[in-house]
Symmetry: C2
Subunit: 140 residues, 2 copies
């Protein structure tokens, strides 16, 4: 599984979820590549059994492809939550970082981030609030 393949799967998953259908044009737009690159990728992913693809036909993720995409997307969301909710990083930057890190981050790291967030919120949520408040003020 290359990083790029994961990105294609994740993009398709999100398109499916938001638009109901997956189209070459939309994948291309989301990943900032041209349509021929998308077709190349679809063929490869299809050979690997991660995507159902017949030319000019509708595009679908297979069970296995969807599983990988969901996994990636879930890391994406958890990372973003941590960056924004704990570190107070501006959403756009958090998004950018999550978008890359999601492909490399160890399971254990994500787990710890979640546990840490929970622990802090339970044991010193006041301090956390103060930290976030200060950051937001500095931004002005």
């Amino acid at each position: 599984m290359s990083k790029r393949e994961e990105e294609y799967l994740e993009t398709m998953y999100i398109l499916q979820k938001n638009k109901g259908v997956i189209r070459v044009k939309d994948i291309a737009k989301a990943l900032k590549v041209k349509p021929p690159s998308v077709v190349d990728a679809l063929k490869k992913l299809s050979e690997k059994g991660l995507v159902e693809y017949e030319k000019y036909d509708r595009i679908l993720l297979t069970e296995e492809g969807r599983k990988i995409a969901e996994d990636t997307y879930s890391k994406h969301k958890l990372l973003t939550q941590f960056f924004v909710g704990i570190l107070g990083i501006p959403p756009e930057i958090a998004e950018q970082d999550a978008c890359q890190f999601e492909h490399y981050v160890h399971e254990e790291t994500v787990k710890r981030m979640m546990e840490f967030a929970e622990f802090i919120q339970e044991n010193c949520s006041g301090v956390l609030k103060q930290f976030l408040k200060e950051r937001i003020e500095k931004e002005k």
Copy 2:
């Protein structure tokens, strides 16, 4: 600057620091590639003015190359510190993650991590200690 180029520069920087000299063989070993790949990379980096390289001669980073390498390496260290010292992630995993994230992470994110670490240590270091202690116990 590609991720891979940064990795070459960082590796060279660390070799320089630890061994005093930079050798093709050692770069290859560190990056798990074969010597010809290193030579390819050195030629490109030299064309970009980031490395001083003449064949069969000693290898050096230029001022500019060193700056990039230091920058990357500093992110590496800060990320590792945060992962280990705040989240309590096992050093090997922290190292792995830092090693990837360092090439993508936004300046702002690293800055926030440092500020957050400082803030927590000053305002609820007891809670942090407890969190880390619990994690270490769970690991057994």
